[in-house]
Each structure stands twice: as structure tokens, then as C-alpha cells.
Symmetry: C2
Subunit: 289 residues, 2 copies
């Protein structure tokens, strides 16, 4: 799945992104272990800072993690009229929690991460993300997101799924039954936003995930963020809303430029929110169903 | 500058993008030569189709070249009220010419490419791009863009610079004197669009290029396209317009969805045009000067 040779970490996957490979030059391997769920590596790289690698796949790097974390959080949260209660499934590095609590309407953030070791190691090696856990608004449970939601019906305004790629343990987070479960855990008018793979890599898979979402959310859409250290340099989000009439492309809450800078958003703005939905024609066309 | 080992082509540059590397699995090396100006490779890759490599840097691949070619052409052309005469500097593969002639108002496309071997080899190996040269509207000159423009003052409505990266022979295409020359070659109300590097790689360099453009064009802006096979998965465009009041973000000519599909645009739409200017906050902030 991956190689660490001659001082370079290479992200090779014949299954997920055949024929292409992104590599980062490594200064130091800070930690390596096999947890109950996955292989975890924390690297210090030459030009991307600290990097978290799960099962050979780059999850986030210090240099560019903000784009993903800000958009997967703010697109759904700013599209909700009153996003008081937020649930994060996954996101063990803490970056999504760090962003979610920035919105003034967010009162409580519940988070369920299956692998406690990712949380522990992020606190030790990746404090720039793990600082998200420091807020008294954030309530972290180490456990299974499926089980958690079964016991929390109609409780959340926003559910964010910050998962790894659709291979191995995370496969179920891209399937219809998962979208059904999220729908039941939402309060009326609620909204979900899930890591949605990348249509540059596998257009058909994204289409299938969107269809699974659309089975339970008539108002379904897809948005993109540039993330240089991800395969193909970008990643998408599958968004579903219980309010059929809400225009997900237009944020209900618009931060001023001053607020954006004070809250230390490095990527998200209201213009970015709108622009994230402007998909290349080949993708927009494939998603017309 | 690059390596071709064990069936992989790796794009390594300590000068341009230190510490990171994108690699493509190669089926066959179709051609290799050293022209008068540069090292030229044409590869057949496992999953990106045919690829053109100049001095070790991926210029375009069959799988994803359309995004770059469509946006560098259509953003300036659709921002001009009557883009009759277009000049392309560089673009020896033919892809930009292929796109430029799609716009109904474009009557003549003049193109100056310094390296005739790139044109010859594209015609032989990359006909999906070189087909741009087939149109009777396209007039190709093999020569120096600087010299060409010195002899063609106030002749063009749109000037597109499709150059390689700011290293070696292309350095001058990112400097102030080049923007001055383009300004003089434009007709009143004209607009220029140049390959503008990538702020994810070198924010300061993009800022300097924008400043060089702004010395001669008070209406200067920057837009982005996702291109998976480029470093960091995206690339930017520096745009300058002689009409100070024109809103570059809003296309003057909007194609209908039917027209978009009939003209075989795979990336460009009016929404994509607008969205391309929605820069991440850290970049937008750096470009406020």
C-alpha cells in the first residue's frame, strides 16, 4: 500500500488511484504503530510539515489541512439557519472540531471516533489540529458512529463525516444505510456533509455515493476543495439537506472579511462556499440524475 | 530534473516544488529528443493517456488537459465584448487554439510558438490537442513571441500566454516587460491571460507576477483551475484587462448548457468561470495590494 524508501513516503494504491502516485520527502518518522483498526504513521516532512498517514494514505498535512477541515465544516454549518448541535463522525485528528466551534451559533459538538489511538497521537504530535478537542463545547466519544447514531435520534442539526477513503473499515460510510441512519439522527431541517471522494479519480463511485445520499435526501449536492496533498490535489463533499427548498450553494450565514480573518479561516469565505459547487461540466453532467 | 525508473515517470524539482513529487506509471516512451530549446518526451501512461513532458515537467496529459486549455482560453475570451482577434503565445500542443476557436465571435487566432518540434510531435502523437491547428482560423508562426508582438501593435483583443513554468527560457514571460509588451499589442479594451503558476507552491512568486501585471493593467485578477497532473493538482491564471470597469469574474458571453455540450466543453461553464475567481482566503489576502 505504501513505501518509505530513500527518504520519500509514496502513496501508492492500485485499488484507489492506479497509475499515479504522490510522494512527500520525509525528515523524520515521528511514530509508527498498528492500532486495533489501522496502521498509523506520523511523519515530519521536508515541506508539508507534520503528516498523519492511515493505512498508507495521507489524511492531512500541516501545510494544507485547513482547506478540507474548513469546508467540510463550514459548508453545512453555514447552510443551516441555526446549527446549534453538531455531530462529527470520525475526524480523530481534531481539525473538524477546531473549525466547527468557530461558528457563533454552534453550542455543542458531539464527536464519535472509532480509533482512540488517532486522538491520542494527534494530541501528542499534531496539536495544531488536536486543539479542537480543548473546547468545552466538544464532547468526544471513542466508539462506533453507527452505534452512536442508533441511540441518538433526531438530535443534531448538522452531521459531518470526516472519514478515510472508501476501502476497508470506512466502506460502509459511503453506503445508503449510512445516509439513512444520519437522516434519522437529524433534527428537522438538518444537514449532512460527508467526505465524498474525488470525481477526478473515480467518477462512478462519487455518482453512486450521491445516489445513496439522494435516496434519503431529496436536496443532495456536491462541492469541492483544493487540497494539494490529496490524490489529484482535491477532494469532494457529499451534502444532503432535509429542507428541500434550501439553496446549499448560498450560505445563510455570511462572515465578514474581518470575521473570517479573526476566526483564522485560511480558506473559507462566502465566495469560496459558492464557488465550491461550480463543478467542471463533465462532473456536473454525470451528477444529473 | 526528472527520473524514469521502474516504469514510473517522476516529476521532481528541488527548485520549483521541493519536497513533493507526482509520478505517473508509464506504458511506453513514445518519443524522446532534445530540441533546440528543450528536452521533449512523449509518454503513453497507464491511466492518464498520452503525456507531453518538457524539461522534465508534465505539460499536459490526455486525461485532464481540457481544464487548463478551456479556462485559460474561455475566461479571457468570454470576458471580452467582441473577441475577434486572439493571439496565443506558446501553446505548441494546439490545445489552446482548439478551445479558442470554439467561441462564435473569434474570427482569427494568431499563434507564435518558439519550438516547432513541439508542434510537429504533437501533430504526430497528440492529435486530440494538435487538431487545434487544423482550423483555417488559426495562423501559426514558429518564432519568438516577444519579437512577434513588437511588430504587431494594437492588433489583438485577447492575448493568451500558454507557457511552461517560470524557470529557464519561460522566465521572461512572468516579468513586467512582458506585460508591457502585451499591453501594447492589445486593441482598446483588450485582455490578457497568462499561465500564472500556483499559489499553493509559491505564493510570493504569484504575488510578484500579479504585481508585474498590475503595473500595466489596473484591472488585474487571478483565477484557478483543477488539473490533477499538475503540481499540487491545480494551476492559476494571471488576467489583466485594459477596461478598468470590466468585471472579469462575470462572463459577458454566457453559453447555454446545450451550447457547452455541443462545443464539447468538459470543464468550462459560466458558473465555473465565476467560481474560478473564488480564491482561498490566504491567497485572496496575499493578493490585496
Amino acid at each position: 500500500m505504501n513505501t518509505l524508501v530513500k527518504g520519500w513516503f509514496s502513496e501508492i494504491s492500485d485499488e484507489l488511484w492506479p497509475g499515479q502516485c504522490f510522494s512527500l520527502k520525509v525528515k523524520e518518522i515521528l511514530h509508527e504503530e498498528k492500532s486495533e483498526f489501522q496502521d498509523i504513521k506520523i511523519l515530519d516532512t521536508e515541506t508539508y510539515g507534520k503528516a498523519l498517514i492511515l493505512d498508507g494514505v495521507i489524511q492531512c498535512t500541516e501545510r494544507d489541512e485547513f482547506g478540507y477541515q474548513e469546508l467540510i465544516s463550514m459548508i453545512p454549518i453555514c447552510s443551516h439557519p441555526n446549527p446549534e448541535r453538531v455531530l462529527i463522525v470520525g475526524g480523530g485528528d481534531g481539525g473538524v472540531a477546531r473549525e466547527a466551534i468557530k461558528h457563533p451559533a454552534v453550542k455543542e459538538v458531539y464527536q464519535v471516533e472509532i480509533d482512540g489511538r488517532v486522538v491520542d497521537l494527534s494530541k501528542k504530535y499534531l496539536p495544531f489540529m488536536a486543539c479542537g478537542f480543548d473546547s468545552p463545547k466538544v464532547h468526544l466519544t471513542i466508539g462506533d458512529g453507527f452505534e452512536f447514531m442508533k441511540n441518538h435520534k433526531e438530535e443534531f442539526d448538522v452531521i459531518i463525516t470526516d472519514s478515510s477513503d472508501p476501502i476497508g473499515p470506512a466502506v460502509s460510510l459511503f453506503q445508503e444505510s449510512y445516509f439513512e441512519l444520519m437522516k434519522k439522527a437529524l433534527r428537522p431541517g438538518g444537514i449532512i456533509c460527508s467526505q465524498g471522494s474525488n470525481f477526478w479519480i473515480d467518477l462512478e463511485h462519487v455518482k453512486e455515493t450521491l445516489k445513496a445520499c439522494a435516496c434519503h435526501f431529496k436536496n443532495t449536492s456536491y462541492a469541492m476543495a483544493m487540497v494539494p496533498s490529496y490524490p489529484c490535489g482535491s477532494i469532494g463533499f457529499v451534502i444532503g439537506c432535509l429542507d428541500e427548498k434550501r439553496d446549499l450553494k448560498t450560505p445563510l450565514h455570511c462572515f465578514t472579511t474581518d470575521q473570517i480573518d479573526k476566526l483564522n479561516f485560511k480558506y473559507y469565505t462566502s465566495d469560496v462556499h459558492k464557488g465550491a459547487f461550480a463543478l467542471p461540466r463533465f462532473a456536473a453532467k454525470a451528477f444529473e440524475f
